[in-house]
């Protein structure tokens, strides 16, 4: 009992430390400009009923449209990325073929290129494909994720080989094995990877900024910086914008939280 209380207090302390910057940002969204730059700085706003900043976010920019754009690009990217990663990881984990190691390192190598070096060539490719200012143009450079492929490979390698052998004996093809056996077995990992790539794509800034030209195609992260006016940066408005941008990701997280912890196939090889 006492140990539980101690654990709780320790957890609460670490949790508060981790969450403090987030809370500070959220609190900043409710402050008035005078309050925000005032000295000495405060953590809590005077009142949490001050919605002026949020109103400004929705009146200064077409926020719903930005959110919709982000939602479309992020979900499209995550779905395609996971599908490709699933297939590639399956090949790397279960097949044996010539040049497997070389190909794998080649794929890993794409993670090690500094993103800034690829900007110009990517931009040229996308513009020659005529994809500037389209959803596909925003998504296409992130369709293949080496990181997700790597994680799935690690996960597949830990799943018992007996399952695949049994499935093959029963005449189950590779694709069917992936869809109806392997994917449900690795569901938790898939959900985590989906979350991760969704959030990563939701948060990208530089690439959507470069590829989109019109206001209607901007994603939410680009939209937030558009809240900066010529007279200067209103940090409290930007923080309110960030708070709004956080909502869909949090909703997704809460919705997927349960399936993230689910594990199937604990007794797959028993008997």
């Amino acid at each position: 009992m006492k140990k539980g209380v101690l654990k709780g207090i320790l957890g609460l302390t670490i949790g508060c430390l981790l969450m403090f910057p987030v809370f500070y940002g959220l609190a900043g969204a409710f402050k008035t400009p005078a309050e925000f730059i005032g000295w000495p700085p405060t953590v809590l706003p005077r009142s949490f009923a001050n919605f002026d900043n949020f109103r400004a976010v929705f009146t200064q920019a077409p926020m719903p449209r930005y959110l919709l754009n982000s939602l479309i690009t992020a979900s499209l990217t995550s779905v395609v990325r996971l599908a490709l990663a699933l297939l590639a990881a399956y090949a790397f984990a279960f097949f044996e073929f010539k040049g497997q190691k070389v190909l794998f390192f080649l794929l890993l190598g794409t993670m090690m290129l500094p993103a800034d070096t690829l900007l110009i060539t990517n931009y040229q490719t996308v513009s020659r494909l005529g994809l500037l200012d389209t959803y596909l143009g925003v998504c296409i450079v992130s369709f293949v994720g080496a990181s997700q492929m790597f994680m799935l490979r690690q996960r597949f390698l830990t799943s018992p080989t007996a399952v695949r052998e049994a499935a093959q004996l029963d005449g189950c093809g590779d694709l069917r094995f992936i869809v109806s056996i392997l994917a449900p077995m690795c569901w938790a990992t898939l959900v985590i990877l989906f979350m991760q790539s969704f959030v990563a794509q939701w948060n990208t800034y530089l690439w959507p900024l470069m590829v989109t030209n019109t206001t209607l195609m901007r994603t939410v992260q680009v939209g937030i910086t558009m809240l900066t006016t010529i007279e200067g940066t209103n940090y409290e408005t930007i923080l309110a914008g960030s708070a709004v941008a956080m909502v869909p990701a949090i909703v997704l997280f809460v919705a997927l939280r349960r399936s993230m912890n689910r594990t199937i196939g604990g007794g797959a090889t028993v008997g």
Binding site: K7, L10, G11, L18, F105, A115, F150, I192
Partner: protein, 254 residues
């Protein structure tokens, strides 16, 4: 925007002229030799990478093992969800003294001192990465079959023994992934440096990628930038190969 991009076309600049290409390479090689800092930054980046990985994983494992891998702590990993722009604005907004109850924080001083500025960057980077790693490691621990744990307990394994001899080897595939991706991300660190310290004070927080960025996009010294990015790539790739050599020896797949 588009025309600017066309003007920046490097292939047009070097493509049809092999001599120009060779000259650029020679200049690059020479400038690397002359720019002594590159070597220093290489070591430093590697150090940061090592620190970040250690700190991230140690923190994630410690947090996980303290709380018995239950749901309790998982409500706190909100940091992966925060838009990056907001994180960085928040971080830069804290470059001031502020008071919470009796404690006073002087974060600006930390970033202005060349001995501690890197520690500040490190803390921020660890904070930004800890959430996702925590989720992954937690999931791996949950995936360990109950019967294995039960058997080990029956055989009289204590909590430490359990962690190091049973649980860690069983989650080693996930650990390999976490270490590898963290290492890569840490080697590619440039965002926090760009926003918080801009490489300063007296270049103490310049990482390889930040050096590449300033050389290429600010000073238009493309050859140096290309060289630095190659060095960064080679280093990271070397580390990755090393990690996979370790995979053959230490990582166990069921």
């Amino acid at each position: 925007m588009k025309r600017d991009m066309e003007a920046l076309n490097l292939r047009n600049a070097f493509g049809p002229m092999p001599e120009a290409c060779r000259d650029a390479l020679m200049t690059a090689a020479r400038s690397v030799r002359e720019e002594e800092p590159v070597k220093r930054f290489t070591v430093r980046t590697a150090l940061i990478a090592a620190c970040i990985i250690l700190a991230t994983i140690a923190a994630a494992i410690a947090a996980g093992s303290i709380f018995g891998w239950n749901d309790f702590f998982s409500i706190f990993y909100g940091d992966t969800r925060v838009p990056q722009a907001a994180q960085e604005i928040m971080a830069s907004a804290q470059e001031e003294t502020f008071t919470v109850g009796p404690a006073t924080f002087k974060i600006q001083e930390r970033f202005a001192d060349r001995h501690t500025a890197m520690a500040g960057i490190l803390m921020l980077t660890v904070w930004m990465g800890i959430g996702f790693n925590y989720v992954l490691i937690l999931n791996a621990f949950r995936g360990i079959p109950e019967d294995v744990i039960g058997c080990a307990r029956l055989d009289g394994a204590g909590p430490l023994r359990m962690l190091f001899s049973i649980q860690l080897p069983l989650i080693s595939p996930t650990l390999l992934y976490v270490v590898c991706t963290n290492m890569i991300q840490a080697m590619m660190t440039s965002g926090p440096v760009m926003i918080l310290t801009q490489g300063g004070p007296s270049r103490s927080t310049t990482t390889l990628i930040y050096l590449m960025y300033t050389a290429g996009y600010r000073s238009a010294n493309y050859s140096l930038a290309a060289c630095v990015s190659l060095v960064a790539f080679a280093l990271t790739f070397g580390f990755a190969v090393m990690l996979f050599w370790l995979e053959g020896r230490r990582v166990t797949y069921q």
